[in-house]
């Protein structure tokens, strides 16, 4: 196996190498420093690399290997458009109020059901969108029942990151991994959904132990919630029906996209286009204006910067170093990828992390199997657990700290604004143990499924 491994001496470390590496490292450092908005940093860094000729515009805009991954960008845009159309129908308010009422106003049941709903919705929608839709209703319910909303907000955020891991479209790292590794929606369902269901069940049992005993609510306060009529939430039943039909069609499209030989972005774009057409919206300006362009340009800039360091050989150099460290032991590498990704994602944004790891894993594969290429290389049976470990580590790792995932940052910010500040320590006190618990489950899963039973 080790015969394929070349040495790092074969990489030319010229001026281009050092310029690209410096810009890459500086961009990372400044992203962590957080004084300048991350989108501004990467857009400038990317433009600088193009202007300096390290990566050409053509490569940046059109190369499948080192350019912007438009599959990721258009999948995100399309899903944002669908959500922007659905939001005013009131379906998310309905879902949250309904969940609270199903719980009969019992506080822990509300927490468990809202967390489960958040996890399931996050599996199909962006995590930030999901928490932005569930958290305000949670705050209302907690206010009605005179409960401290902080445990509810933290558990929902953690559940959102757990649920997002379950599918291809649930979390941006998965979208990025799917696109680079050419994995389809059903690959994610077969390989990740089962373990995420286990992680979620164990998570709910754990929060029962942590919060279950302390929450009691007076009968009259419970009645406030029970008196809410969730049907009043639905503002536009006609648009809601149309949206649900299109959303269902899109989901069926995702399930079948592998068989249809269509990229996930094509399916999502079709869904967005169809919903725009049937929604009866006369002026689509505001639907597109609400698309999160800053996040999308963060991806665009990042892809170009990563493309440049792939081109100059930095990523290949890193891949060789990783293989040297692990002596080509792939199970060991998988486990390192899982745990390293989890802790790295707890402290740095998992999007740039995965953007770097994707080409690194591909370069590692090229070192190991120099005669293979395309799907044969990307889907080499020994490489598959690596992709799943990366996804599980990077997505679940976000639960470790208040800055680990975008959803955490949003919820902590919202809670502070509402007068319920969640300190970094407090979030970590719950997040870190629950994150470690979930990664332990994943470790056992990856080991059993891919190295013991080989299924």
């Amino acid at each position: 196996m080790s015969q394929g491994i070349v040495t790092t001496n074969q990489i030319v470390m010229g001026a281009s190498f050092w310029i690209a590496t410096s810009i890459f490292l500086l961009a990372y450092a400044l992203i962590i420093w957080e004084k300048i908005h991350k989108t501004i940093l990467v857009v400038f860094g990317a433009a600088l690399l193009i202007v300096m000729g390290i990566i050409t515009q053509e490569e940046a805009f059109t190369s499948m290997d080192i350019g912007v991954d438009w599959n990721v960008i258009f999948l995100l845009i399309s899903m944002m458009v669908i959500i922007n159309i659905m939001k005013p129908t009131g379906c998310f308010e309905y879902l949250a109020i309904k969940s609270a009422k199903i719980s009969k106003g019992r506080p822990f049941m509300i927490m468990a059901i809202l967390s489960t709903v958040t996890a399931v919705v996050s599996a199909f929608l962006d995590n930030v969108t999901t928490v932005l839709l569930i958290a305000p209703v949670t705050l209302l319910i907690c206010q009605a029942m005179e409960l401290d909303p902080v445990p509810f907000l933290i558990t929902e955020t953690l559940a959102s990151n757990i649920g997002g891991t379950a599918t291809l479209i649930g979390d941006p790292p998965n979208i990025m991994i799917a696109s680079k590794a050419q994995l389809n929606f059903m690959d994610f369902v077969y390989n990740l959904t089962p373990v995420i269901i286990v992680v979620l069940i164990v998570f709910i049992l754990t929060i029962k132990l942590i919060f279950g005993k302390h929450m009691t609510v007076k009968e009259e306060l419970r009645q406030r919630v029970m008196a809410m009529n969730e049907k009043e939430a639905i503002k536009d039943p006609v648009l809601l029906k149309k949206s649900l039909v299109v959303l269902a069609m899109t989901m069926i499209g995702f399930i079948g996209h592998g068989a249809l030989h269509l990229e996930p972005a094509s399916i999502a774009l079709f869904g967005a286009g169809l919903l725009l057409l049937v929604s009866g919206i006369k002026e689509p300006h505001h639907i597109f204006a609400e698309v999160e362009w800053a996040s999308l340009f963060f991806f665009i800039g990042l892809f170009i910067i990563i493309g440049a360091v792939v081109k100059v050989g930095l990523i290949k150099w890193m891949a060789i170093k990783v293989l040297e460290l692990t002596h080509g032991n792939l199970m060991g590498t998988s486990m390192i990828v899982l745990w390293f990704s989890a802790f790295a994602s707890a402290f740095v944004d998992n999007i740039p992390y995965v953007a770097t790891m994707n080409p690194l894993i591909i370069d590692m594969a090229k070192q190991l199997w120099p005669n293979l290429s395309g799907i044969g290389l990307l889907h080499h049976p020994d490489l598959m657990p690596m992709w799943w470990s990366l996804s599980l580590g990077a997505c679940l790792g976000g639960n470790g700290t208040a800055i680990g995932a975008s959803a955490n940052v949003i919820v902590v910010g919202m809670a502070e604004k509402m007068g319920h500040p969640i300190s970094f320590r407090k979030f970590m006190l719950y997040g870190m143990p629950l994150m470690i618990e979930s990664v332990i489950i994943c470790t056992i899963y990856v080991w059993l499924r891919y190295y013991v039973f080989n299924i």
């Binding site: 005013p88 009131g90 998310f92 308010e93 839709l133 958290a135 305000p136 209703v137 206010q143 939430a233």
Partner: protein, 164 residues
């Protein structure tokens, strides 16, 4: 006509460290109108210890202080309960004016023409603004209703063929 011709000379103002409770008492009894009768005002300027303008506290700010911001994020008006406003209002009473006031403040100079007042009222969606002297000190308040009366006067003069 200029701003100083229709402004109400400054009479009541708030301090940044006043509580909202103290502030609403002042709003309730504040002086207004040419005869300075204490019938309540909809907003008052906030001045620091040196008399510098630092903000404006209006009725809207008081409403916003009791309005949970999660409600503004989603359409949840139909899920409120009887007694919600009262309990939130009691909690908001102890908040400081400086945390609730609108700042920075849109102001006008005493020698600015009235059309500039109309421009600010319409473009900035405000109903009252502090009037500053040359040194930048607040000398009065200009209210939308007084601008309206100035307009009425001008209009009716024209209708009467210029007669007074």
């Amino acid at each position: 006509m200029r701003a100083k011709d229709i402004m109400i000379p400054i009479h009541d103002y708030l301090k940044p460290d006043n509580t909202l409770k103290e502030a609403v008492k002042l709003l309730r009894t504040g002086f207004r109108g040419e005869n300075l009768v204490g019938i309540g005002v909809m907003g008052a300027p906030v001045l620091d210890e040196t008399g510098n303008l630092v903000g404006m506290l209006s009725m809207t700010d008081a409403l916003r202080a009791v309005y949970p911001s999660y409600m503004s994020m989603m359409d949840m008006g139909s899920f409120t309960w009887d007694g919600m406003l009262e309990s939130l209002a009691q909690k908001a009473g102890d908040r400081k004016v400086k945390d609730i006031m609108t700042s920075p403040v849109i102001t006008i100079r005493e020698d600015d023409p009235l059309m500039e007042c109309v421009d600010l009222i319409l473009r900035k969606h405000i109903r009252r603004m502090p009037v500053l002297d040359k040194a930048g000190k607040v000398v009065g308040m200009l209210y939308m209703r007084d601008v309206f009366f100035a307009i009425t006067k001008a209009m009716l003069k024209e209708d009467n063929g210029g007669e007074k």
